[in-house]
């Protein structure tokens, strides 16, 4: 089986219809060309695929289970609900599928130093983990504000041998960390591999990260066929940058399956305090790609807000913009409080603490499932585990 089931998009320049592309300084263009070539060669090399699969199985612990959530199904009284358990991966989220693939590519390209951006720290931890395993130098750019909010992940990265570089520019969150990672890359481009964490950024990242993450959907498809003998009616996944959702959506693009991406409505779209880029943004260019973007009337990027640090980003991967405009996928948004309720619901009905990001997907399922028939099937992607969010949730809920 190849790494991906789709090869039609993007085009050679990285465009998904009108979206995507390569909006970066000239200094980086040759590096992107080199990366595109190296990835294309790796993709055609059975040895690369074999190595990727070896580590996915023996290091990450794949395949992750597709679990029938019997109690949640009974509770909501509608479609049968299956959970794709990315939270059970090594490091606790889907992020490692991508960092593993890219670290193998960096190794193949002879790059000894990798850099990464991180918001909540999940991608940073996954990057630091794979860098440790492949004996690479690793620097993770993280906004000072996020460092303060995600102390535990900062310690984890340092324990893994990575350097956590505090970013003091802008608002000191993920967007600024990504700017700073780009600035480092443009400076050290000759010896540094930029290990980008989502299906965003300039080509070939959206394609490459999608391909590495599509293992989620490939597995889920085969697992459901085995367990139920049929495809699901609908798949629900949260969307920040969009890597877990793209990973599970992509292998189903040609199937008659509803694909629903759930964004963070934060305190409500109308308040302006949200991260619902596809729901409420306009087309723009940020961090190397043309895509939907949260921006003001003058084309300045505005800060996103969500209770979930992993969704707190004003951009989104360009292929999601394409899927939205083509109508192939639907995008909706749920608020902080809906996500918090869903977090508690899943914890109590199934004994699974989802990441606050994934709780957004659960929250939309809670709305949708009761209106579906009992012979229908929904898959929810549980992209990560919620342990990292326990301190914040404890504070909000006042749990003693």
């Amino acid at each position: 089986m190849s790494l991906t089931t789709k090869i039609e998009l993007p085009d050679a320049g990285g465009h998904f219809g009108a979206f995507g592309g390569q909006f970066v300084p000239e200094t980086l263009m040759p590096a992107l060309d080199e990366l595109t070539r190296a990835y294309s060669e790796a993709r055609q090399d059975p040895a690369f695929d074999e190595e990727f699969r070896y580590y996915l199985k023996h290091y990450v612990g794949r395949p992750s289970p597709l679990y029938f959530a019997e109690r949640l199904t009974r509770r909501l009284g509608g479609a049968r609900i299956y959970l794709k358990r990315e939270d059970l991966n090594h490091t606790g989220a889907h992020k490692i599928n991508n960092t593993l693939g890219q670290a193998l590519l960096a190794k193949r390209m002879g790059k000894r130093r990798v850099i990464a951006e991180t918001g909540a720290g999940q991608h940073g931890v996954a990057a630091a983990t794979t860098a440790a395993m492949f004996d690479m130098e690793c620097a993770v750019f993280m906004g000072e504000e996020d460092i303060r909010r995600q102390e535990l992940n900062v310690f984890r990265m340092r324990l893994l041998g990575a350097e956590v570089v505090p970013v003091t520019s802008g608002n000191r969150t993920l967007k600024d960390a990504m700017n700073e990672a780009m600035r480092d890359w443009v400076t050290n481009v000759r010896n540094t591999y930029y290990l980008l964490g989502t299906v965003g950024g300039p080509h070939p990242y959206p394609m490459m990260v999608r391909d590495f993450q599509s293992v989620i959907g490939v597995e889920a498809r085969a697992q459901l066929l085995e367990q139920e003998g049929r495809l699901p009616d609908c798949i629900v996944a949260c969307v920040g940058g969009g890597s877990n959702s793209m990973g599970i959506f992509h292998p189903f693009l040609d199937d008659p399956v509803r694909l629903i991406g759930v964004e963070a409505a934060g305190q409500g779209i109308a308040t302006g305090q949200h991260a619902a880029t596809l729901t409420a943004g306009q087309v723009g260019v940020l961090h190397g790609a043309l895509s939907y973007l949260l921006q003001d009337p003058h084309g300045q990027v505005v800060e996103a807000y969500s209770i979930s640090a992993g969704l707190d980003y004003p951009g989104v991967g360009p292929e999601h913009s394409y899927l939205k405009d083509s109508g192939r996928a639907e995008y909706v948004a749920v608020t902080d409080s809906e996500a918090l309720e869903a977090f508690q619901l899943l914890s109590r009905t199934e004994g699974i603490l989802p990441a606050l990001e994934s709780a957004h997907a659960v929250a939309y399922a809670v709305k949708l499932v009761p209106g579906m028939d009992s012979d229908q099937i929904m898959i929810i992607n549980i992209s990560g585990r919620g342990d990292k969010d326990v301190p914040a949730i404890t504070q909000i809920l006042g749990v003693k």
């Binding site: 320049g13 390569q22 300084p25 000239e26 967007k175 600035r183 940020l286 973007l293 990027v301």
Partner: protein, 283 residues
Amino acid sequence: MLPAEPGMTPVDSAGCNRIDVVFDRLRRGGRKGLIAYITAGDPGYDTTAELVLAMERAGADLIELGVPFSDPMADGPVIQRASLRSLAGGTTLAGILGLVRSLRERTSVPLLLMTYYNPVLHYGLASFAAAAAAAGVDGLIIPDLPVEESAPLLAEMHPCHVHLIPFAAPTSTPQRLDRIGRLAGGFVYCVSLTGVTGAREGLPPGIEEFMERARACTTQPLAIGFGISSPGQAALMAQLGDAVIVGSAIVSLVEQYAADREQMLERVAALVGSLKQAISRVD
């Protein structure tokens, strides 16, 4: 075709873009050009206008006005801070076009906007091209718009006679330099080093070889920028190209003397004057 009314379009009375006119004059005089950068609207449009005129008087041959952007990924700390200050003061792309329009009543120095792509895209490519030309903008420099993505904007700018200045970098391959050189209008912005904007010491390694490669790929003038702050550096760089671009060193003075406009204008003019003098000694 736009009316060739002096001061209102990026063409002079002979129908030429002011950038081309200036480089032609420099070449015929055997002189090197100085391109000075400031962030527009830092601190306020009025001061920017005064700075432009002061820099022109002090010897700047072309002037770049930076359009502040929320995410200046190609810029170092000095210009990042200037962008934030300017945005906090309410600067907009439309406001900067208004500033250029009013400057055109007072100067015919070539004015270029250095902007990231999103504010232009958001303005609308066709309306921006028309508005920039009508205001008297002569050129655009967009660091996150490589040749691969520039066709839609070029198609709008070309009929308006506003140049889109492409970048060449030390990492650019021969094939890329060829393409950049062929597409270039006005001049080629040669990035002296791999990195972001900001002052640095000395001369970057490999710069001579890079400039030779760039020279072989285009008939357009070559301007060198990034990392140049002192007259000494400028003099060395001027030997390798047709013009030298200085930004962060000037913006630093604007920041340092933000509270005292007279001092600011004086210091900036003094720096521009010394840079100009340094590059004028180059054969």
